[in-house]
C-alpha cells in the first residue's frame, strides 16, 4: 500500500480545497447556495460521462464517442417526444436505449473485429454526431417540454438540484461495480494484461463489451438531463464533452494505459475541473474571456497534478540517485 499522502487522490483533494479557498477569498458570491447549485448543474452531465469512462479506461480502452452519442440521444429524445408524442419519461427510456445501442456498436467493433478502441470510437464520434445532425437537418430543435420534465434539470429536491440525485445513484452504482465486484476486478486485470486475463479464464470480451455498453447507456441518461437543463433538444448537444470527461478521469488518477484508477478519483477530478471553471467566471467579469482562461487553466491543472503525483512518488526512491534505464 502506498502512503496516504503520496496517493494521487490526496493531492487532488488538496488542489480542490485550495481552489475553493482561493475563489471564496477573491471571487464574488462563490460559496452561496445558488452558485453551488450552479456548479452541480453544470457538471452533472460531464460527471456522468466521466463516471462511466472510468471502467472503459481501466480496461485500457477509450471512448471518444460519448459526447456525440449524447447529442444523438438528445435528438432521439426530442423526436420521440415531439414527433411520436411519447410521454417524456418513456422517451427518456428510449434515449437511454439508443445510448446502449450506440455502446453496442462500439463494443461489437472492438471485441468482434478486434479494432483498437481509439479508432473505433473516433469513427463513431463522427458517425453519431452526423446521424444527430441528419435527423434534425442540422438546425431543428425540439422545445416547449412540459414543466414536469424540465424540473429534472432546473428544480431542487430536498434542497439539492434534482439531477444531483441521479448523479449520486449512478456514482454509487459505478463505484460498487468498479471496486466491489468481479467485473471491476476483471476491468483492471484486462487493463494490466489482456492476454494474462484471457489465460486466467476471465471473460475478457464480455467485460470489455459491458464497459462500452454502460458508457453508451449513461450517455443517453446524460442526454436526457442535458435536454431538461437547457430546455431544448438539438444536434449540437454535448460537443466536446468526451474530452472533458477523459480529462476528469485522468486528472482523477486513472492511468490512460489501464489497470490503475478509482471512481472516487474521478469524482474529485470532476469537482476540481467544475470548481475551476465556475470560480474563474466569478472572478472575471468578462465571461467570454473566462471561458478561454478556464480552458488554459484546466489543461495546466491536468499536467501539474499528474506531474506532481509522479514527482512525489519518485522522491523517496530518487534519494539513491540511481535511476535505471
Amino acid at each position: 500500500m502506498k502512503k496516504l499522502w503520496l496517493r494521487h487522490e490526496m493531492i487532488l483533494l488538496v488542489v480542490l480545497v485550495l481552489e475553493i479557498l482561493l475563489f471564496n477569498a477573491i471571487g464574488r458570491r462563490f460559496l452561496t447556495a445558488d452558485n453551488v447549485a450552479n456548479i452541480v448543474r453544470q457538471s452533472v452531465e460531464i460527471g456522468l460521462l466521466a463516471l462511466v469512462m472510468t471502467p472503459v479506461i481501466l480496461t485500457g480502452g477509450i471512448d471518444l464517442s460519448v459526447g456525440s452519442l449524447l447529442g444523438l440521444c438528445a435528438v432521439t429524445f426530442g423526436m420521440l417526444w415531439g414527433e411520436l408524442h411519447w410521454p417524456p419519461w418513456v422517451a427518456a427510456t428510449g434515449a437511454v436505449g439508443v445510448g446502449a445501442m450506440g455502446g453496442c456498436v462500439n463494443a461489437a467493433l472492438i471485441t468482434r473485429l478486434r479494432l483498437p478502441p481509439l479508432i473505433v470510437t473516433l469513427g463513431t464520434f463522427s458517425l453519431f454526431r452526423g446521424l444527430a445532425e441528419a435527423l434534425t437537418s442540422g438546425t431543428k430543435a425540439y422545445t416547449n417540454f412540459p414543466a414536469s420534465f424540465l424540473a429534472l434539470g432546473n428544480s431542487f429536491f430536498l434542497g439539492v438540484p434534482v439531477q444531483a440525485w441521479v448523479f449520486v445513484v449512478v456514482a454509487v452504482a459505478v463505484w460498487l461495480l468498479v471496486h466491489r465486484t468481479t467485473a471491476g476486478r476483471a476491468f483492471r486485470a484486462i487493463g494490466f494484461a489482456p492476454e494474462g486475463a484471457r489465460f486466467a479464464g476471465l471473460p475478457v470480451e464480455r467485460r470489455i463489451a459491458q464497459a462500452y455498453v454502460l458508457a453508451g447507456a449513461v450517455a443517453g441518461l446524460a442526454a436526457v438531463i442535458f435536454v431538461s437543463r437547457v430546455t431544448e433538444a438539438r444536434a449540437n448537444a454535448g460537443i466536446g464533452y468526451e474530452l472533458a470527461a477523459i480529462t476528469a478521469v485522468v486528472l482523477g488518477g486513472t492511468s490512460i494505459f489501464g489497470g490503475v484508477g478509482s471512481v472516487h478519483g474521478t469524482l474529485l477530478g470532476v469537482a476540481a475541473v467544475a470548481v475551476l471553471g465556475n470560480g474563474l467566471s466569478r472572478i472575471l467579469s468578462i465571461t467570454a474571456f473566462s471561458r478561454e482562461l478556464s480552458g488554459i487553466l484546466t489543461g495546466a491543472l491536468l499536467i501539474v497534478a499528474l506531474a506532481a503525483g509522479t514527482l512525489l512518488r519518485r522522491a523517496p526512491g530518487a534519494k539513491g540517485r540511481g535511476r535505471s534505464g
Binding site: M1, G196, F199, A200, R321, G325
Partner: protein, 497 residues
C-alpha cells in the same frame, strides 16, 4: 595483470530488503567468471551496480584500477562495461547496421548519416565474432540468437573490456549455444573479462574459469571450476546438499481422466493427437521447440479450440470452446510465459490466485476480500510461497515464487487435469526441486498431470510415461523409464540405436 573490475564489500538495501550485504567480487582480464545463485540471491542487484543502474549504499567499485564515484549507465558504458540481456534490447524496425550505429556513435544533432560507413563497420564487427548476418537486414527478421550476436558486436565495437551476459542461452537451441560459446571463448582469448550468469550448470562447467556463488546477498565464495563438481557447486548455492533424485510415484494410477482421439486444430498445426492420461499419473510431453507441445496445451485449454477429433474427460465427450469451458470441465493450464500469461504482475498475489475461480468464491459477483485472503494464506502456507504477504504484487516475487502463485491459481479451481508448460523454466535449483515435489504430490492426490518440458532430466525424472511430439502430433509413446538417448532420438525423428 591488474583486475579489470574489483568490487569490495558492496551493500545495497531497498527499503527493508538487504539485497547486497557486503559482496566482494573481482574479474580478471581474459577469464569467464560465472555468477551463480538462487533467484533473489543478489545477482541482478550486483549487476545493476556494476552497470551503473544502482548506486551502492557502501563499499567500493574499481574498474580498470580506478574507483567509480558516479553510478550511472553512461559512465559505466564509458568505462568499457557492456551488458547483454536475456531479451536483446534492439530496435526491431531498424537495420542491424543502424542499431549498432545507435549504440556506438555519439548522439549529435544535425550530423550527416553515412550509411555506407555504418554498414561497413557493422559488417566488420559481425565478421570479427564470426556471425553471418547481413547488416542491412531489419532486426525483426533476425532470430533471438542472431540478435544476441548483434548485441555482442555492439559490446565489442564499443571497446568493452567487461562483458556481462545474463542467461544468454535461455532461448537458444543446441547449435546456437555452440556458436555463442565459441564467441565467448574468442572474447576471452582477446583479453575481455566475461561475467556469465546462468542456471545451467553444464554450461558453466563447459565455459567458465572461476565461479562466484551468491546466497542471500552475500558471497559464499569464489572458486576455480577445476576444483569443483556439480554437487559441490549446488551445495554452495543452496547451502545444503540437494538430492538430485526426483520424487517417485507410489501406487498405481487410477482411471483414465483425459482421453484424446485424433485431436486436431488446423489453426495451430496440431493434428491426429491420441493420448490417454490417467488420474494420478504424470505424462511428460517431450519434443523440440516448435514440435507443437504448447500448441496442443492451448487446444486442450480452449485458447485455440480443436476443430477435429474429440476430447473425453472421465469418459465423457466434452467440447472445449474457450478457457472458461475448460475450467468448468476441470482442465487447468499453467502457461509457459509466467510473466505475460501466468501472473498479472501488477496485481496482488491474492487477486492472482482467485482469478480463475471468481464464480466460486465470489457468489453473485460481489468481492469477498476475507475469503480471498483466506485462500491466499492457505496457498502461501501449503506451497511455501515467499512473499511479503497476500497483498504483495506479483512483480515483487522471485521467478520460482511467481510460478507457485500461477500453480496456486489453478489448484484453486480443483482441477482433474493439470497441464504444466515448462514449470521450472528460469527457476533456481532450490525452487525447482520444490516444484517437482509439489507436482508429484498433486499427482499422488489424484490429478492427471500433463507436463511439457524441454529440460530432459526433468522429463525423464518426473514422468511416469513420456509422449514425444514432432511436427504437431505425438509420434512416440514411451512407457517405463526410457533413457535420454531414446527420447532425444524420438524428438529428432530418428530410430533409437
Amino acid at each position: 595483470m591488474p583486475d579489470l573490475l574489483r568490487a569490495t564489500q558492496l551493500t545495497k538495501s531497498f527499503g527493508a530488503v538487504r539485497a547486497l550485504r557486503g559482496v566482494s567480487f573481482d574479474l580478471r582480464a581474459g577469464e569467464v567468471h560465472a555468477l551463480l545463485g538462487e533467484n533473489g540471491a543478489g545477482k541482478s542487484t550486483l549487476i545493476k551496480v556494476i552497470t551503473g543502474a544502482h548506486a551502492p549504499d557502501s563499499g567500493s567499485l574499481e574498474v580498470g584500477g580506478k574507483t567509480v564515484n558516479h553510478f550511472n549507465p553512461r559512465e559505466a558504458h564509458r568505462r568499457g562495461i557492456a551488458c547483454i540481456y536475456q531479451q536483446p534490447a534492439l530496435f526491431p524496425d531498424l537495420s542491424v547496421a543502424e542499431n549498432i550505429a545507435l549504440r556506438l556513435e555519439t548522439p549529435r544533432a544535425w550530423r550527416r548519416v553515412r550509411s555506407a560507413s555504418r554498414i561497413a563497420r557493422a559488417r566488420e564487427l559481425l565478421t570479427r565474432i564470426g556471425a553471418d548476418i547481413e547488416p542491412r537486414r531489419e532486426v525483426r527478421y533476425l532470430s533471438m540468437p542472431e540478435q544476441q550476436l548483434v548485441e555482442i558486436a555492439c559490446a565489442i565495437g564499443s571497446g568493452a573490456r567487461v562483458v556481462i551476459m545474463d542467461e544468454p542461452t535461455a532461448s537458444l537451441t543446441q547449435n546456437e549455444q555452440h556458436l555463442l560459446f565459441a564467441v565467448v571463448r574468442d572474447l576471452r582469448a582477446s583479453g575481455v573479462g566475461v561475467i556469465y550468469i546462468s542456471h545451467r550448470l553444464e554450461e558453466i562447467f563447459a565455459l567458465a574459469d572461476r565461479v562466484t556463488v551468491l546466497r542471500d546477498g552475500e558471497s559464499v565464495g569464489t572458486n576455480a571450476l577445476d576444483s569443483m563438481n556439480e554437487s559441490s557447486l549446488i551445495a554452495m548455492m543452496v547451502g545444503r546438499e540437494v538430492s538430485h533424485t526426483f520424487p517417485t510415484a507410489e501406487g498405481a494410477p487410477g482411471d483414465v481422466a483425459l482421453s484424446l482421439h485424433e485431436l486436431g486444430c488446423s489453426a495451430s498445426g496440431v493434428h491426429g493427437v491420441s493420448l490417454d492420461v490417467r488420474a494420478g499419473e504424470i505424462v511428460g510431453l517431450a519434443g523440440l521447440v516448435g514440435a507443437g507441445r504448447t500448441e496442443l496445451a492451448r487446444v486442450l485449454f480452449g485458447l485455440t479450440p480443436a476443430d477435429r477429433g474429440e476430447i473425453l474427460l472421465n469418459g465423457e465427450r466434452v467440447v472445449v470452446a474457450d478457457p472458461r469451458t475448460a475450467i468448468a470441465h476441470g482442465v487447468a493450464y499453467v502457461p509457459e510465459d509466467r510473466r505475460r500469461h501466468g501472473v498479472i504482475l501488477e496485481m496482488p498475489i491474492a487477486q492472482n490466485m482467485s482469478m480463475a475461480i471468481h464464480g466460486l468464491i465470489f457468489p453473485g459477483g460481489w468481492l469477498r476480500v476475507a475469503a480471498e485472503l483466506r485462500l491466499a494464506d492457505e496457498f502461501i502456507a501449503s506451497l511455501d510461497i515467499k512473499a511479503a504477504g497476500p497483498g504483495a504484487p506479483g512483480a515483487s516475487l522471485s521467478g520460482g515464487n511467481q510460478q507457485k502463485v500461477s500453480v496456486a491459481r489453478w489448484l484453486a479451481t480443483k482441477p482433474r487435469v493439470l497441464i504444466l508448460d515448462e514449470p521450472t523454466q528460469g527457476v533456481d535449483v532450490g525452487a525447482k526441486s520444490e516444484i517437482h515435489r509439489i507436482i508429484r504430490q498433486l499427482a499422488q492426490d489424484g490429478l492427471a498431470v500433463l507436463m511439457i518440458s524441454s529440460d530432459l532430466p526433468e522429463v525423464l525424472g518426473m514422468s511416469d510415461r513420456i509422449a514425444v511430439m514432432r511436427g504437431g502430433t505425438i509420434t512416440t509413446l514411451l512407457d517405463g523409464k526410457p533413457d535420454a538417448h531414446t527420447v532425444m532420438a524420438a524428438a529428432l525423428g530418428k530410430e533409437a540405436a
